[in-house]
Amino acid sequence: MNELTIRRNKAGQNIKETRRKKMNRRTKTVILTVLIAAVIVSALLAGLLISDEAVAIDFANAKQKPSFEHPFGTDWMGRDLFARTMKGLSISITVGVVASAISAVAAVLIGIAAATGSKALDSFVNWLIDLVMGVPHLVLIILISFSCGRGLKGLLIGIAVTHWTSLARLIRAEVLQLRSEQYIAVSRKLGKSNRWILVKHILPHMIPQFVVGLILMFPHAILHEASVSFLGYGLPPEQPAIGIILSESMKYLSSGMWWLAFFPGLTLVLIVILLDHLGDNLKMLIDPYSAQE
């Protein structure tokens, strides 16, 4: 990618200079985003594809330290920790992604409804957001999980119900501000209907916010899923969710099996960090103004 740049110096002569255009930031960001997305998807697929016998009980080599054969070591029942962690990780990612998707869609619908609807609807939505934010997230999730008999359904609904509020408030504020812009008033005077304005003016502005908001919600949702299963809600014990692996590892901490707690948590943190970076990079690509560091 050679680019001919003409630079003027003091004396006014033009210095023609070819200079190898360093890989501009845009392509670097694109490559980084694709890379991160690939890692996350592979973790997801790896987890789903791992066969059951890889995580089967094998008392022969129980309580082994991390070795080449068992990179994360094995637990007190001889189950390979690495395989269980990857399986658990894919469950965490799926639950996190699905729950975030549900709450993000809810956030957009409620946010836009509050901004475009009647004053009463707007104040009701604000009251509702205060209500949901009033009860600590985990307490609300415990209640919802309890009401659904502590299965995956309760976990999904619980996380979805507690995550839409901040994005809804952000979208509502954004739409309210947009509707007050002059070019919207002009559009009305050009005979355009509210629906046309919503589709042509407001949505194109909201989509980047929505996509970035959605991606940035994944890490939180995954952390919540892990926390809730750690407390014993959500998935049945035999399912290898990260939260469950870690809560079971507590019993064996004092007996020196530190790897039971260390590695699953570490992989979870890595995935969360990767997702955060994915969100930031996407934000840079989609919405350059706001990302101007």
Partner: protein, 313 residues
């Protein structure tokens, strides 16, 4: 442009450029001020007139040395004959050189007007007694001191901003667009204070896009175009009609004014991203020669004004 007596402020070939990110996240260099030369003496009001958004406010920030990090300034500036190094600028800011900014957003929203006008540090106490008559001079009464910026009307906000400069007893006052969209009478009334300051021997640099107002009020006018000054003329040259002006752009400006001919010149001002090489006005100039296209004309003296053009007479 060598001159014997020392100007209050002398700017030589100042260039200010910005590192910006465009949509493609590619970093570009935006030359917002290029080879600008201008000078001000005591007791004089110099207006810098040019269309809005062409970087005039940046000139004020460059003089005060408060450009943002992603900006680089080249060329040299002298205050009372002394090179303005960053350290010297820091000593001058707020004491010798005062800025009157554009809008009320330059006032701290959570601080009362009085505390802001008095300023910080030890000189705040010294200035306390002077506050009363400064407010009087600007038709602000004592009680206004307790107000907060959001409670000020447009007019009051402007007078408060002017008082921040007047109280500091600075010798050079830079007013950045002090009369936005004001009618002629209102504007002249608001600018009366600057005439008083000039008569007291201070230098006043008035940055405005209202050429009309500049002609009526300022002593000298610097015609600002695409980031540089093309001509430095006294306002009576402008009143003297097209013939007494020097640069083809100043003549085009004069012809385009409603009260003169209202005849527009074709073409547009060049953008900071792709400035033409050579004279910036070349693409629109009928006297444009080969030399204009390749070489940047220097400011030269002509009929006791200055012009940046090879062919001006």
């Amino acid at each position: 442009m060598v001159c014997e007596h020392k100007h209050l402020l002398d700017v030589q070939n100042l260039s200010v450029s910005f590192r910006m990110y465009d949509s493609g996240l590619e970093q570009k260099e935006l030359k917002v001020i290029s080879d600008l030369s201008v000078s001000i003496d005591r007791g004089e009001i110099l207006a810098i007139a040019g269309s809005s958004g062409s970087g005039k406010s940046l000139l004020a920030h460059a003089i005060l040395g408060i450009l943002p990090e992603n900006a680089t300034a080249r060329g040299n500036m002298r205050y009372k004959g002394e090179i303005m190094t960053p350290e010297y600028q820091e000593k001058l800011r707020g004491r010798q050189i005062a800025l009157v900014p554009q809008s009320v957003s330059y006032l701290d929203p959570l601080m009362s007007i009085e505390r802001q006008v008095l300023g910080a540090g030890k000189n705040a106490k010294e200035r306390k007694p002077a506050l009363k008559n400064i407010f009087g001079r600007l038709q602000l009464n004592e009680s206004d001191g307790r107000l907060y910026p959001y409670q000020l009307s447009g007019g009051m906000a402007r007078r408060v901003l002017v008082s921040t400069a007047v109280i500091g007893d600075a010798e050079l006052i830079i007013a950045d667009e002090p009369t936005p969209g004001m009618q002629k009478q209102q504007a002249l009334e608001a600018l009366k204070i600057f005439r008083e300051l000039a008569d007291e021997g201070k230098g006043v640099l008035l940055i405005t896009h209202d050429v009309d107002l500049a002609l009526e009020f300022a002593d000298k006018i610097a015609v600002f175009y695409a980031g540089t000054t093309l001509e430095l003329a006294s306002s009576k040259d402008f009143r003297g009609g097209e013939a007494s002006l020097r640069h083809p752009y100043s003549k085009a400006l004069w012809r385009a004014m409603p009260q003169n001919g209202f005849e527009p010149l074709d073409g547009f001002q060049p953008y900071a991203e792709n400035l033409p090489s050579g004279c910036l006005f070349a693409p629109r100039c009928e006297m444009c020669s080969e030399r204009c296209k390749t070489e940047i004309p220097e400011m030269r003296e002509l009929r006791d004004g200055f012009v940046r053009c090879f062919h001006a007479t």
